[in-house]
């Protein structure tokens, strides 16, 4: 077996040193009834054979890059520069662990410090942590944190928060409180203010929302703050930070975002990287790891994990969260891609995304019966079609166009959105893609 260095002689010598006759003796504490299980699984296989098996599976999927592709709704197809994937595969990044020994983990720690700074800048917040699992779990952590800060237990969710995010929040927030979800009104400004009461810990609003609608968070922030509640802003498309006003500038108290768009591929939903930022005054209630700056014994600047008394390994049942690992390598990819882009590159990238979406929306709404539901948008918008979207996406897929995410895939029992289609366009979509989509949709309608 190519991954196991011990030879038969090694094993014999080692057993002799230990003073047992066989490895079986080392397993003597296992109850005898369970010691010798049999497994109906194949025997080991060489690289070539395994590549054949996995290659066959891969070919049973159609990669997004092979066809005109317009799915978003929380996961976006962007171009990732080649240097990003090379750098994250460096042994010292890929095969190290949590920086428990800071003297020999300055690489990871400095990257996390840079990541925290980038996230704080992008979100317009004062402090950010070293990442969480993904956007949805970051949102749930934000809701739990708001409960600790306000000592209240009623949560208000916007109706156009990504339904997977809403379900993730409900799964944990309903353990110790109640969750109210506003009615679904695609492309409309919801009246959330009237649903906030003096038991409300937080209001959770996504921007751009799951339909792609770009919303002004300021009135919601004011309404929340007037009742002593926090505003949690959720962002699922990190490229939008390049063009849209930062949540922090619109009054958000906590920002929970999905960072996949920068540096990370689609990967069928994971691993992604959760961005989490807040105001300095809430620092001690923040979940997740933090890298901080300090000096070493020779007075040189260095970085360490800090404020760990919030965490489970010290505080155990009183920790701010049960989280142990973060999403280190995905955070690294995010940081490298964002460093490559810089202010100029991210702004350009965001503008191109917006331009592509605008071009696509204009093309598709020229087709009779197709209605644009979201008056403002970034790189994703929602169309109302004359027939159920499930039929049309199916017909378009048969023509080689992956047309978007139908709202009914996410809102499973909301008949009012049966004809709605959520469509994303990014820098990866070409003029030809847009023309092909327009022509195909015209044909099927």
């Amino acid at each position: 077996m190519r991954y196991l260095p011990l030879s038969g002689d090694d094993r014999r010598d080692m057993l002799a040193k230990i003073g047992v006759a066989s490895v079986d003796e080392l397993f003597r504490d296992v109850p005898s009834a369970a010691r010798e299980a049999r497994f109906d699984l194949p025997l080991h296989a060489g690289e070539m054979e395994v590549e054949r098996i996995m290659g066959r599976l891969s070919r049973q999927s159609i990669p997004a890059g092979e066809k005109p592709f317009f799915c978003g709704a929380g996961a976006y197809r962007h171009h990732v520069p080649a240097s990003v994937d090379h750098l994250i595969q460096r042994s010292e990044f890929l095969t190290s662990y949590t920086p428990y020994q800071p003297e020999i983990a300055q690489g990871t720690l400095q990257v996390l410090f840079e990541f925290q700074t980038q996230v704080a800048l992008l979100t317009g917040m004062e402090v950010a942590n070293a990442s969480l699992y993904d956007g949805s779990t970051a949102t749930a952590e934000g809701v739990l944190m708001a409960g600790r800060v306000t000592k209240r237990d009623r949560v208000l969710l916007s109706g156009s928060l990504h339904p997977h995010y809403a379900e993730t929040v409900r799964t944990v927030a309903e353990l110790g409180g109640t969750v109210v979800t506003a009615a679904v009104k695609p492309g409309q400004v919801e009246d959330l203010a009237s649903l906030i009461d003096d038991k409300t810990s937080c209001v959770v609003v996504q921007n751009p929302d799951v339909f792609g609608f770009v919303r002004d968070l300021r009135p919601i922030a004011e309404a929340a703050h007037a009742k002593g509640a926090l505003l949690i802003a959720v962002v699922t498309e990190a490229v939008s930070f390049g063009l849209i006003e930062a949540p922090g500038a619109m009054g958000a108290d906590i920002v929970a975002a999905e960072g996949q768009s920068l540096g990370n591929g689609l990967n069928f939903g994971g691993p992604y990287v959760g961005l989490f930022a807040t105001r300095e005054k809430f620092l001690r209630q923040m979940p997740g790891r933090l890298a901080g700056e300090t000096l070493d014994a020779d007075g040189r600047r260095g970085f360490v994990l800090t404020l760990s008394t919030r965490e489970q390994h010290i505080r155990r049942e009183k920790a701010t969260s049960n989280i142990c690992t973060n999403s280190g390598l995905c955070a690294l990819a995010f940081t490298i891609h964002t460093s490559l882009l810089g202010e100029i590159g991210l702004t350009r990238l965001a503008r191109i995304n917006h331009m592509r979406a605008t071009q696509l929306a204009e093309r598709l709404t020229r087709i009779p019966g197709v209605e644009l539901v979201t008056p403002s948008f970034f790189n994703e918008f929602t169309l109302k079609l004359p027939r159920p979207a499930v039929e049309i996406t199916h017909e378009l897929a048969a023509k080689g166009i992956i047309a978007g995410v139908r709202a009914s895939r996410l809102y499973l029992h909301e008949k009012s959105v049966a004809n709605h289609l959520i469509v994303a366009a990014t820098e990866t979509n070409t003029d030809e893609d847009i023309a092909a989509y327009g022509a195909a949709l015209q044909e099927v309608l």
């Binding site: 080692m14 599976l57 990044f93 003297e103 700074t117 704080a120 939903g269 390994h313 990238l349 029992h413």
Partner: protein
């Protein structure tokens, strides 16, 4: 139980500088690297993108009005910055990394290559399911391997890491208890447990009760039984436990918990010690998470991403979270609708996250499992246990092992051998850094004073172990000989010497700030 045993976190006064000055501040291949924000510039970008002008935006008046404050680097500068940073990290590729409980084993590059196949890496989680059958097949096959290896009938793949898996398992237990119309409020956790266990139970609203260890480093079965009752929802037990020992009374514990109407959660962090040999399903376990980054070698990535699928017994299977994966004549299909799941007899407790879990990790783990096969996986457990026992046998005369062997995949020592030497566990760890090793896990588990937990894994050769053993024996000898200065000033040969963690925590600096802003903030 809070951890209220601190340790020195400020570098001692006995610091001896070992750095010969250079004009550049760099030393040969050891380069200092400034922060991104000190080398990057606002007007630089390393990505060629056209500068399009938007005639009229459709942002509803919400366009950003002020600069973000990011800086950019050209591609060569990006490469140099991050390559230099990488060179300041220890890694399993470069050195022995026996970090107990974390399972730093070789990360096969085939796994990385397979994860980048476009049918997996370029598949959108919400693409029409007919177009992503290969990705769904990976979910299915990963599930089949995990269920077969654990002897459990069901698995939830979506949890994103070990602690997230614990949450999933405890939520299933909570749902099962509610379905019985009961209200059980207590969860029993051994004091040697990972901190994630009590944190998870508390998050789910349970009261956490510690169960003490016996003199053999295992759960005191009688103490555990005495705490069982009609208000106990379950126990959370790590097996092999955090002392590196197999809980030999595990079946008796499972029976007692079940007899009292509770459920048995097993923290599967140490499954790598028994994979391919022992099926947790044969031990009476109801739920167990599997850290794919430990047992199945997905890379640790500087602290994630992990993946924490949870296997369930028959008693808990129907409470597994959404999505569910089914196969019919048309192929694989995800069930994302609670009502559809209920119609099929399931009662999912909710959803752990958006989408379907850490697909990229499933591909790597599945590649690892196909590579090893049932015979290779058994050899993994055998060699991991053999290597750990070899270390235990080779060091127990000069260090102090608190419990009798044999151990499983990791060897635990305490600091009794350092008594009155003036050298601490932390000093030993730092001295190991100067010797070219990543230290073992220190000060965990909490049940042992000054713990040193050494996990060699199966991917280390006997030669590597022999060299490490010689170094450890030397360090134990020198510590006992009273060479305190050398230990307390270690590390001297790493990119940084001991860091002032006290100062970092007292006045946290958690991000870079532009110098003039920093001046404002200080006013």
């Amino acid at each position: 139980m809070l951890n209220n045993q601190g340790r020195p976190t400020t570098p001692g006064a006995a610091s001896v500088s070992s750095a010969p000055p250079t004009l550049s501040g760099d030393r040969g291949l050891n380069h200092e690297e400034p922060l991104l924000f000190e080398v990057g510039r606002a007007e630089v970008t390393g990505v060629d993108l056209p500068d399009v002008t938007l005639k009229a935006d459709r942002l509803g008046g919400l366009a950003r009005k002020r600069p973000i404050g990011l800086v950019g680097l050209s591609e060569p500068e990006t490469m140099r910055h991050y390559v230099r940073l990488s060179q300041r990290n220890a890694s399993i590729d470069a050195m022995f990394y026996p970090l107990g409980s974390c399972t730093m084993k070789h990360n096969a590059r085939l796994n990385e290559k397979m994860a980048r196949l476009p049918g997996f890496s370029d598949a959108h989680p919400l693409a029409p399911q007919s177009t992503v059958q290969g990705a769904l097949a990976v979910l299915s096959q990963t599930a089949t391997w995990l269920k077969t290896l654990t002897g459990m009938p069901a698995v939830a793949l979506s949890p994103k890491a070990g602690a997230h898996g614990e949450l999933c398992g405890i939520l299933a237990i909570r749902a099962a208890i509610r379905a019985r119309g009961e209200n059980r409020t207590r969860i029993l956790v051994p004091e040697s447990a990972h901190g994630t266990n009590p944190a998870t139970a508390a998050l789910c609203g349970f009261t956490v009760e510690d169960v003490r260890a016996n003199a053999e480093g295992r759960v005191d079965v009688e103490a555990l039984k005495a705490k069982l009752g009609p208000d106990v929802a379950g126990v959370m037990l790590t097996n092999p436990n955090t002392c590196g020992l197999f809980e030999r009374d595990i079946i008796e514990i499972a029976d007692a918990v079940h007899a009292a109407g509770g459920y048995f959660y097993c923290d599967g962090a140490n499954f790598n010690a028994i994979v391919g040999r022992v099926r947790p399903g044969d031990l009476g376990i109801d739920a167990m998470h599997i850290n794919l980054h430990k047992t199945f070698s997905t890379p640790h990535g500087g602290g994630g991403p992990g993946a924490g699928p949870v296997v369930f017994s028959e008693r808990l299977a129907k409470f597994a979270p959404l999505p569910l994966l089914v196969q019919d004549a048309k192929g694989f299909r995800l069930i994302e609708d609670e009502e559809e799941a209920k119609a099929l007899g399931y009662s999912p407790f909710g959803r752990m996250c958006a989408f379907h879990g850490q697909m990229g990790m499933f591909v790597r783990a599945l590649t690892y499992m196909y590579s090893h096969g049932r015979d290779g996986l058994r050899q993994v457990a055998d060699d991991a246990v053999l290597n750990a026992n070899y270390i235990l046998a080779s060091l127990k005369d000069v260090m102090s092992a608190p419990f009798e062997g044999p151990c499983m995949h990791e060897a635990l020592f305490d600091d009794a051998f350092l008594k009155d030497s003036g050298v601490t566990t932390l000093d030993i760890a730092k001295a190991l850094i100067d010797e070219g090793y990543h230290p073992m896990t220190v000060y965990f588990p909490l049940v042992v004073h000054g713990a040193m937990l050494i996990e060699p894994t199966e991917t280390e050769s006997k030669e590597t172990l022999d060299r490490f053993i010689a170094v450890m024996r030397g360090l134990a000898r020198d510590a006992k000989a009273g060479d305190i200065e050398r230990f307390q000033s270690a590390p001297r040969l790493a990119p940084r010497r001991r860091l002032d963690e006290t100062a970092a925590a007292r006045k946290p600096v958690l991000r870079w700030r532009a110098p003039d802003n920093a001046a404002e903030a200080a006013e």
